[in-house]
């Protein structure tokens, strides 16, 4: 784990970003629960609720071995961002990611009402990637929504992105623990489709 943004100790900080309804809270809890199994203490700071459906949702995840931490990551200090939607990936990365951080991003956009009614413009995915790379970030992209449909349902898009995120090697949790926690955390009866989604995501970034 790089110690560039985070201080040189056992602290890993990441965000999960998405649009309400995409399952970012569930996936962030799966990551944090897996980190607890891996021996970390954790803080997950987030906002959610029915009011957040269709709104921007982000979870701050901080894993540490010693010390006391607030639930939120300071600006410009996150090691990584896992983005379920490109605009939301850009939003949190611009604020919280450290310059050399890692971004794994689903490129399928969900347009905000502000864009639909014509008061704002949705940035092109290319411009998002270019901007983040100019900031110094290492950006990985995939169309996780398509892969999720391939796995069985668009609902498991979050697990596809998790698989892709895991495959970059930034997460200080081993594969077995993560998959075990994924199986425990998803709704009963959806374990297999979620694991399939994870594996599709895992392969999606191979070779890049």
């Amino acid at each position: 784990m790089s110690a560039c943004g985070s201080k040189a100790k056992d602290l890993f900080q990441m965000l999960v970003a998405g649009v309400g309804g995409q399952g970012s809270v569930l996936i962030s809890h799966i990551i944090a629960s897996a980190a607890i199994k891996a021996g970390y203490r954790v803080r997950v700071g987030e906002k959610f609720g029915a009011a957040m459906r269709g709104g921007a949702v982000s979870s701050h995840i901080r894993m540490f071995k010693t010390g006391e931490y607030a639930p939120l990551i300071p600006e410009g200090q996150a090691d990584a961002v896992m983005a379920l939607e490109p605009l939301e990936g850009l939003r949190v990365s611009a604020t919280y990611l450290r310059p050399s951080g890692v971004v794994v991003m689903n490129v399928a956009p969900v347009y905000p009402v502000d864009v639909n009614v014509g008061w704002a413009r949705y940035p092109s995915v290319d411009s998002i990637i270019k901007g983040l790379e100019e900031m110094g970030a290492k950006v990985y992209t995939l169309n996780a929504t398509e892969l999720a449909i391939q796995a069985g349902t668009a609902k498991v898009m979050n697990s596809v992105v998790l698989g892709a995120f895991y495959s970059t090697g930034v997460l200080p949790v081993d594969r077995e623990t993560l998959l075990e926690t994924l199986r425990e955390g998803v709704p009963k009866g959806t374990e297999e489709v979620n694991v399939r989604a994870f594996e599709l995501g895992e392969k999606a970034l191979k070779g890049r």
Partner: protein
């Protein structure tokens, strides 16, 4: 993972509210009541699903909930009432009175405040109420303490025979952390009633010796409360002196921010970590005052500890400068704490340099489109707002006023973030263009406020348009029944719109009195708003399905016409009658048989469908054509009804 698991030592990820629920279980809670309010609702949600020997209920409002909890505590049960910040305002009557004589079983008031107003209409600090009511207040710094202090609160309540407040904030309640489970208290308090228990007429504030004597009793409990608080040690309350002339008090959630800031700045301070904002652990505070020249209090969000500290320092005649969020604040008394705010305050206190941490992607900000919050695809409120907009355009007069309420439909007042709005200084009524349902509400403050505001506007004689007051099913029973009676007897000729979607949806779909199930999921009576309104004397009542836009518009227009008619002598009531789409989908009461799509050749690019405000309706700015998100579409057909070109059709038909 089950939160009721009898597994002391187990370490698991718990949301703050689930940690509070676990604390109540460990304390052997017998009665849990509350009204949903973000960010507090998950306590009862978790307890209602737990296999525990306790009565768990959603009450019709916080006042009822708290009265129920007090009743339980009077007969000796360990009882808890849960609510959000604004909910506490509803229990003030009983709270300010029940402390005159107190309780027998432990009574815990769990309140989740919302600094930063993420989900709330204000940033009130309910710890002020603990001082006012003179009851102990415990405030956790993390999820572990949320569990531990909830458990402790029951013991403290029984020791002092007073209600105890557990005060949380959004960043505790809705954040998660690793929590180690403790022992579950197996015995249950024996239930008993004794009219004169330890005090004549204990449970009747008027009973001799009367309220003043019982107020005196309350003051006599204060030294006992201070004594009990003084015994609370690490990790909840502790003082670490290290010879510095600077002191920092970190209360509740501030602790994490302060510890990070101290490390970030590489400084040493005398640190008082505090989980009891009232009463304060005076001996520890006195030692801190004696050891420091300057003290900073970091707390969320009013200067509750700070004002008490200033009082104590004055009584000690101490030569110490005190800083916090009061006058000459190092942290302004609004908005929530942040790393930069806390670090900058400590740096300024000590006169050291601190360059605020900055986003790395500042130059990317112009790329970022805002994302205004939206109602769900196929939400009944979308249809109701569409119909209301058109009905008011035709029959609402020059400048109608729509008074809102709290619930998902309050998003009808969130506006479009990207749209620039300039303040107006007009002396005349002004009408504005409404482009989205998110611009429909003209006023909105609190639960049940819309009905009252509408009556006020009417009786003041507002001349320029029709007046509408909104409510949901849950808020109708929470606060609007008295307002409706008021409107009938005072002949308030206004339109009341009740958006009955059968659930308290915004806080996470808790049952309302129109749902027909209890918190525990058992079938129960399903109350009918129409029948109730009729019994209360409302003469004009209509209901319509908001997915049927024309029908909904027609009944609203009829109601507006009625209010103009000679026979009108009171309010008109329209019920928007359709179950929450999201909940219907989840419970498989509604199964979409397909989706809608746009025939591009027919689409004129008028964007009327987008103005419906459904997240499934989007617009391709390059093609200048509407399209429908096939993942989000729930086949309600409202946008097809809106489209003037007939370009939106069921997908199967293409």
């Amino acid at each position: 993972m089950r939160i009721e698991e009898d597994a002391p030592g187990k370490r698991a990820l718990l949301m703050g509210n689930h940690a509070v629920a676990r604390g109540a279980i460990e304390a052997g809670v017998q009665l849990v009541v509350g009204y949903p309010g973000t960010p507090s609702s998950e306590v009862i949600e978790a307890l209602s699903q737990a296999d525990i020997d306790a009565h768990v209920q959603w009450s019709t409002n916080e006042k009822v909930a708290f009265d129920v909890a007090v009743g339980g505590a009077i007969v000796g049960a360990r009882s808890m009432a849960t609510m959000k910040n604004a909910g506490l305002n509803w229990i003030m009557d009983m709270l300010m009175t029940v402390v005159y004589g107190g309780v027998r079983g432990g009574l815990v008031v769990y309140v989740a405040d919302d600094p930063g107003a993420h989900y709330s209409s204000n940033e009130q600090d309910t710890r002020m109420v603990a001082l006012y009511a003179k009851i102990p207040c415990l405030e956790p710094s993390n999820q572990q303490e949320a569990k531990d202090l909830t458990k402790m609160a029951f013991d403290l309540s029984e020791e002092l025979e007073l209600p105890v407040m557990v005060r949380s904030v959004t960043r505790i309640s809705h954040s998660s952390g690793d929590v180690v489970f403790g022992e579950i208290r197996k015995e249950r308090n024996k239930l008993a009633f004794d009219r004169h228990w330890k005090m004549p007429y204990r449970w009747n504030v008027y009973g001799p010796p009367g309220p003043v004597a019982k107020h005196k009793w309350l003051y006599e409990q204060l030294p006992k409360a201070k004594e009990a608080i003084s015994k609370i040690g690490e990790p909840y309350n502790f003082l670490k002196l290290n010879g510095s002339e600077f002191g920092v008090i970190a209360c509740g959630i501030a602790y994490g921010y302060v510890m990070e800031a101290i490390e970030r700045l590489g400084v040493e301070v005398n640190l008082l970590k505090l989980s009891t904002p009232f009463p304060l652990p005076e001996e520890k505070i006195k030692k801190l005052i004696e050891s420091c020249k300057k003290i900073l209090v970091v707390e969320e969000n009013e200067p509750v500890v700070e004002l008490q500290l200033r009082d104590l320092a004055q009584r000690m005649h101490a030569d110490v400068e005190i800083y916090g969020r009061y006058e000459n604040a190092l942290i302004e008394p609004y908005d929530e704490l942040s790393h930069n705010r806390v670090t900058a305050a400590i740096a300024k206190l000590m006169g050291v340099e601190f360059e605020p941490m900055k986003p790395a992607g500042e130059s990317l900000k112009p790329l970022i489109a805002p994302r205004s919050s939206m109602l769900c695809a196929g939400c009944p409120h979308l249809g109701m707002y569409w119909a209301l907009k058109l009905a008011l355009a035709r029959k609402g007069g020059k400048v109608p006023i729509v008074n809102g309420d709290i619930g998902c439909y309050e998003q009808g007042g969130y506006g479009i973030v990207a749209k620039k709005v300039e303040p107006s200084f007009s002396t005349e009524s002004r009408r504005y263009v409404i482009e989205a349902p998110y611009e429909m509400l003209d006023t909105n403050y609190i639960m049940g406020g819309g009905f009252g505001l509408a009556m006020g506007e009417f009786h003041a004689g507002y001349p320029d348009g029709k007046i509408v007051g909104l409510a949901g099913d849950s808020t109708f029973f929470h606060a609007d029944l008295p307002a409706l009676a008021n409107a009938v007897v005072n002949k308030s000729k206004v339109l009341f719109l009740v958006l009955d979607n059968r659930w308290t949806a915004m806080t996470g779909h808790q049952p309302s009195p129109t749902t027909g199930v209890t918190a525990r999921g058992q079938p129960t009576s399903q109350l009918d708003i129409e029948q109730i309104a009729r019994a209360m004397g409302v003469k004009f009542i209509r209901r319509a399905d908001p997915w049927n836009l024309k029908e909904m518009q027609r009944v609203i227009e009829e109601a507006l016409e009625y209010l103009e008619s000679p026979e009108a002598d009171g309010p008109a009531l329209v019920i928007s009658d359709r179950v929450c789409t999201l909940q219907a989908l989840r419970r498989k009461e509604y199964r979409p048989t397909g989706t809608y799509t746009v025939i591009e050749d027919k689409c004129t690019g008028c964007k009327l469908c987008v103005q419906l405000g459904c997240p499934a309706n989007a617009f391709d700015v390059d093609k200048k054509k509407a399209f429908i998100d096939q993942v989000l579409c729930v086949n309600c057909g409202m946008c097809a009804e809106v489209c003037p070109a007939g370009a939106i059709v069921p997908r199967e038909s293409t």
